[in-house]
Amino acid sequence: MLNSYAVVGLYLLIALAFPFVTLLIVSLMRPSKPNPLKNSTYECGMETIGDTWVQFRAQYYLFALVFVIFDIEVVFLYPWAVAYGKLGLFALVEMVIFIGMLALALVYAWRKGILEWQ
């Protein structure tokens, strides 16, 4: 079993190295004449206004939060799905409860207006 992951590991290393090596090679070939104007942040050609890090609304965090909850649900869902063939009806009932609970979470988020994107 491990040697299949060995292949994946090897592939991973190469896949990781390939883009960066290419970048290095390319950076050698291309001209590099930095000047302040060129290096300024691109804002449709206008001077940058205000601080770079604009005030960040809780909105994004809440979305990530709901994503986390459902991500974990998925992690629980897959082994159940895999083992579902051999299990009896009780597996279905338990999963219904599990998903029901998280559907409740979704409904709560929905009612609380978190899913709307102002």
């Binding site: 965090y61 986390v68 974990i72």
Partner: protein, 102 residues
Amino acid sequence: MIPLSWFLAVSAILFVIGFFGVLSRRNAIAILMGIELMLNAVNINVLAFWRYTQPENPAGLVWAIIVITVAAAEAAVGLALFIALYRLRTTVNIDEVDLLKG
């Protein structure tokens, strides 16, 4: 085969680093990172014992998943707290949050 004690050593080191992170960092979110590290260390330990004592028993895996779930839930709530804290006190430095001073 990799001896069990190596895994335990790695998890111990990771745990200690995490603990140091929790103790020494000023920023709340850094502390949370420390906690995540510690939880990972625990997970390594659990799985190491699972792999080297009862691989056929899925209990180890169940435990690992539950630890991951709890870590995620904890991170979610913890970060929500820090955000609320930031909104209230415009700082996330644990040093400044010492209302319970004796």
